[in-house]
Point group: C2
Chain length 236, copies 2
DNA sequence: CAGTGGTCTAGACCACCGA
DNA sequence: CGGTGGTCTAGACCACTGG
């Protein structure tokens, strides 16, 4: 691994990571300055700077202008959680994705929805309820409200061919998204559609997306706890 | 925002993001080449390169050497999920953190643990069970096994003063970690300690960490579904 | 003040892609 | 082949930190 032709900045990164994961440099310890490393590796400072900048982005070191670079307090392990379109997620696993359309209808914003969408109560919204199957097994119940101002054609979409996520990303360019993941219980109707028992635990993600001036969409995604999990890896 | 003194590479990034989020450039469209942007902004190519490189890391664009840069298929919304030390997480919210030590004991690896730790069944491990309270309310039950080879002093730690996460990061430098988040039910004893009803849904995270040659630790973290969630934001 | 990192330049060579 | 991005250099000026 250290033998193959490796860009200079990668070698610097690998060196620093080796010192840390071997315990030679510990959290809070100072890392040699850019000019020191520049001389040690006989490379230009820009190259050292790139290496250290990337390590800072990865959370491996902390840099303070004027002060220096120190090994990060690794009490923060950060990884990337990818929120993906369910169709891609399933097909990438090599499985078949199918959708059952349970509801496609106009709706009116109640007080809670009005707050989420930042509109007046009673404003017209679109509402869809879809069930996503992975190899015929129910894996996600998607209950979604969409702002007509952001995606006027939403109710006309053929949801057997296009997922809401995919359609919205295409027609309401994303500017912001926020999500929350928690454990909850399925309601009676949710349980029936997901073919689980009422009272079975579910992983519930609520997600809202902003497109330009509008809150475009608010979705509640319910997954059977036994058939779904979020996974990730962090590698120093 | 565009008015303040902004580094040149940030201006380039902002420009590209504006084109995308306004819908002018759509997923799959080509982005001007580095030399084109260099001339447009009257800056050096290194600076353009930095901007585009960062956008690629953020997942906003996709670059292929020799081919060019295109607007990424945004079907992948990626955000950062920070796995933090619970003590920091709680104190940062301005609350008090306390720990109840329920078990600190040696244990022997059964078949499942042996597989996780990549050791022979029957190998000696350390076992702790801790309950974490946020302002006196139970928020996480931490059931953890630790490899003595990676942290020989583990059983001697005062867990009222130091969290296992913090101790392990200090004494068994982290090289890799992986996690899984799912919904589950509390066992009878878990429910009793968390002061919830049996059958209440819980967010369960299992996490294993690798330190150098050893699998250092395997933990099951159970959170009452009603009192805990993971949250995140993605901003273009 | 000297030392640090943050940014930037104007070149350069290379590997790769598509025509 | 020309154009693309990937990497690298040897300088430079700046803002910030610490003593």
């Amino acid at each position: 691994m250290t033998e193959t032709r490796m860009p200079a900045y990668e070698q610097v990164k690998a060196f620093v990571k080796r010192q840390i994961s071997s315990g030679t440099w510990r959290a809070g310890n100072a890392v040699p300055s850019e000019s020191a490393l520049q001389q040690q590796f006989c490379i230009s400072r820009m190259t050292v700077n790139r290496a250290m900048k990337e390590l800072a982005v990865e959370g491996v070191v902390t840099r303070v202008q004027g002060s220096g670079t120190v090994v990060a307090q690794l009490h923060r392990i950060s990884t990337t959680l990818a929120l993906r379109d369910i169709h891609e997620e399933i097909t990438e696993r090599g499985h078949r994705h199918a959708t059952r359309v349970l509801a496609v209808e106009p709706a009116k914003a109640d007080a809670a929805l009005a707050q989420v969408f930042k509109v007046r109560a009673g404003t017209r919204l679109f509402h869809t309820v879809l069930l996503h199957l992975e190899d015929e097994v129910a894996i996600q119940l998607e209950d979604r409200y969409v702002n007509p101002a952001a995606a006027p054609g939403y109710l006309g979409v053929n949801f057997n061919a296009t997922t809401p996520t995919s359609y919205l990303l295409e027609h309401a360019p994303l500017t912001k998204a926020s999500y929350s993941i928690e454990a909850g219980l399925a309601s009676m109707s949710e349980a029936r559609h997901l073919r689980i028992k009422r009272g079975d635990p579910c992983l519930v993600m609520t997600r809202s997306t902003v497109s330009g001036p509008h809150v475009a969409s608010f979705a509640r995604l319910v997954h059977p706890g036994m058939r779904y999990s979020f996974n990730g890896t962090f590698q120093l």
